[in-house]
Amino acid sequence: MRAGALPKLLLSPSVLLVLVCVYGYIMFTIYLSFTSSTLMPSYEWAGTASYQRLFAQENWRIALSNLWVFASLYIGVAVALGLGFAILIDQHIRAEGAFRSIFLYPMALSFIVTGTAWKWLLDPGVGLEHTMHNIGWESFAFGWIKDSDMAIYCVVIAAVWQTTGFVMALFLAGLRGVDAEQISAARVDGARTWQIYLHVIIPQLGPVFVSAFVILAHMAIKSYDLVIALTNGGPGRSTWLPSVFMYQYSFTRNEMSVGAASAVMMLAAIGLVVLPYLFSEMRKVENG
């Protein structure tokens, strides 16, 4: 049915909000990144000065290399574990629902809660190391969270714990859609279960790998809460991510234009990951 005045009228507040508060604000932030804003927004054009300043910052270099380490490990490990869990769950096990619930419940928690729990669990003074010493393993050492070279891996551990169940759920949905006839055929040919997974089932899960990659990559780029709760960016600046950089420069260091520039870079990174995916998904829908 062609839309009359009423549907258009009722849709317009949402349209307005999305246009202004999403796309308008994006434009505004992009504009700010080309100004000389410091404590407050200023509208004086300054060309690419803040981008030059951004790329010259040691802090930004640290944040980017941390993001690279964090994102690649987080995505790699979560996908590998998620697939592994899904395959284990897919073996017609008893209490399947209970296992799924246990692997997935961390997704219901706030990253601040996750961060708090893991912060003390990984803390050598009170957590795992302390516990091992207490039960008699004196030489046990696990102080990554206090070590500026290793702390980023603690962020990976907590993030993987939180999201593996979600990736598992994605793969489980994918596994249930695999062509059963091909599996029977392979079995008739005498293939073992692991061979069937490797050669028949996993190759059919391509779209799930793509979805998982896109979702995890965009979560990695946006990651903020977990780092704040777990390490607060430290020790020193060793677990800064671009999100931490953006917040620091925009709101506490009075370098708003540099903060805006860093936000633009984050948006660009997400656009690179997400837009091709969205376009292909929408085309798929249009083509039935």
Binding site: L11, V18, Y25, I26, I102, V113, K119, S243, A263
Partner: protein, 289 residues
């Protein structure tokens, strides 16, 4: 998709269950540690180990975390912030779900120019890093007089929740049998008649999915809370982070664990009661388009 014949072998099954059980324990460990140490006196944590059950049980850490821990200027505990989160979540979830239902209905049952483009624009808004809107939104809330208020947070969470709620309802209504709607129109149902009498009565599942999704997301939200609220309007996540990260002097691990668990209770309860719908939301939110 494993075949039953091949999975009947005994030893393989034992190993399979052993692996699954170990993984399950590993996944439960952080929450076990959180709960178990929240009922321990502090010296038992410092002198003992995190995995051991308490020797002297105490609910003191819970009471401290809830009502006397220093978070803001006053030693109020998490209580007022827990309340803030409810004052934030209830209206934000209700409004964004209503808007989503309305948008889903309009986008699927009426044709107009630019509908696809509009939907794509809403969809992308789900993915944007919110850092890109923080500065102008802070300015806007200031102008509207909503800076540092729970109302301001309601507004922000509604705005950035519309993309998700619209997506959920649009996909659900797109699969709705058109004949039912056409025959209702023949019988003289108007715009709201179709929505109220035909669509909403069979929207139960998607309403539950959307409400759970929005509830979980907004309850757990941190960045907007940290950016746009002050001591009077912190949501629970910000208050918890303050409790854990800005405490000086003696670190009261047991209070921190109790606080973390208090903050986790509402979403955990929702998950335990309606995990099925939570998973459906996750899947709907991840398989776009």
């Amino acid at each position: 998709m494993a075949d039953r014949r091949s999975t009947g072998r005994g030893a393989d099954r034992v190993i399979l269950y052993a692996v699954l059980l170990c993984l399950a324990l590993l996944f439960l460990l952080p929450v076990y540690v959180m709960v178990c140490n929240s009922v321990k006196p502090l010296d038992e944590i410092r002198g003992g180990n995190l995995m051991a059950l308490p020797i002297a049980w105490t609910i003191e850490p819970w009471l401290t975390a809830w009502s006397t821990a220093q978070i803001g200027v006053q030693p109020t505990g998490l209580k007022p912030y827990f309340l803030n989160s409810f004052l934030l979540v209830v209206p934000a979830v209700a409004i964004s779900t209503l808007i989503g239902a309305l948008n889903g209905y309009i986008l699927t049952q009426f044709r107009f120019r630019g509908a696809n483009l509009l939907f794509a624009a809403m969809l992308f808004s789900v993915f944007i890093p919110f850092q890109i809107v923080l500065i102008p939104m802070a300015k806007t809330l200031g102008i509207l007089g909503l800076a540092g208020t729970v109302k301001g947070l309601v507004f922000v969470n509604v705005v950035y929740g519309i993309g998700f709620t619209t997506l959920f309802f649009r996909n659900y209504y797109a699969a709705f049998p058109h004949e039912l709607i056409r025959s209702a129109r023949m019988d003289g149902a108007d715009f709201f008649g179709v929505l109220v009498r035909i669509l909403l009565p069979s929207s139960g599942p998607i309403i539950v999915v959307t409400v759970i999704w929005q509830f979980t997301n907004i309850w757990n939200e941190f960045l907007f809370g940290a950016s746009f609220s002050d001591y009077s309007s912190f949501p629970i996540t910000v208050a918890l982070n303050n409790l854990v990260n800005s405490s000086t002097g003696v670190k009261e691990y047991n209070v921190h664990f109790a606080g973390a668990f208090i903050a986790a209770i509402p979403t955990l309860v929702v998950y335990l009661v309606s995990g099925k719908y939570f998973v459906r939301g996750l899947m709907a939110g991840s398989v776009k388009g």
